[in-house]
């Protein structure tokens, strides 16, 4: 999977920098503007813009311009993880509910049989 490999490389490159890792942790707590991030990490606006664009290319961050402020938040990679987690959850509940389905079916049949016995 060349595509996957390339994306993995981009992710590793993005995460190889201590500031960029810090930015992700910040955004894990709440969204922030580029200006906020630059101040928090004691950097120039230009320097922070570069970091954010690396994270953005790796799909780890998405940015959105509202008026004159560019807001950053964790990117779609998070959504994939979330979807995977929900899928795991769904498999557990499917397995559980399949077993419950079977049991309920048995109970229902037993009840019917008991009812018929009572009527005789």
């Amino acid at each position: 999977m060349v595509h996957y490999q390339a994306r993995l490389d981009a992710t590793f490159a993005a995460l190889s920098d201590v500031t960029r890792r810090g930015v992700l942790e910040q955004l894990g707590g709440s969204d922030a503007s580029i200006t906020d991030l630059a101040e928090r990490f004691h950097m120039t606006l230009t320097g922070m813009k570069k970091h954010v664009s690396v994270l953005e290319e790796a799909g780890l961050v998405v940015t959105e311009k509202v008026g004159r402020v560019r807001t950053c938040k964790l990117g779609p990679r998070r959504l994939e993880e979330e979807a995977a987690w929900i899928e795991q959850h769904r498999q557990l509940w499917s397995a559980r509910f399949d077993a419950l389905d079977e049991l309920v079916d048995q109970l229902k049949r037993k009840e019917k049989a008991d009812d018929q016995r009572k009527r005789r």
């Binding site: 995460l15 979330e82 929900i86 769904r90 498999q91 509940w93 077993a99 419950l100 049991l103 309920v104």
Partner: protein, 166 residues
Amino acid sequence: MTNVKEGSTAATNRTAVERKSDRELVVMRTFDAPVHTVFEAWSKPELFQRWWVPKSVGLALLSCDMDVRTGGSYRLVFRHPSFDQPMAFFGTYREVVPNKRIVWTNEESEQGAVTTVTFEEMSGKTRVTLHELYPTTAALDEALAGSAEGLPEQFDQLDELLAGGA
């Protein structure tokens, strides 16, 4: 980028799971049996333990104590082949209304959800809705892979990898 649809499930599967808000998860399923039968399967320990731990999960249920009434408590102990120590799950029934609703707490962790199961009669069938409400967004996020809590550890692994890399 894959487009994630909420609660997207295989068409063959009748169990729907979705993240309803940043603190809630909902699981739904309809059973072809009257409400009292389905409720019985949830409220009688000897029946409950026959389905709660599906074989595919690989857990063995060591003990199952359930006092299913408002104010009662429960305790389930499991063993997983890859762990030495058994795992206990426990909590209290906040509300039990026969054939309508069961609400319980999950007290094995600080950030445990409150689980509400409702039973609705629908022309002879029963719709079961299980709703998990986490105390905070972070608590549900923590359950998600790649959560803030998981990050430092991943970064450590990454650092090692990068340090060892050419």
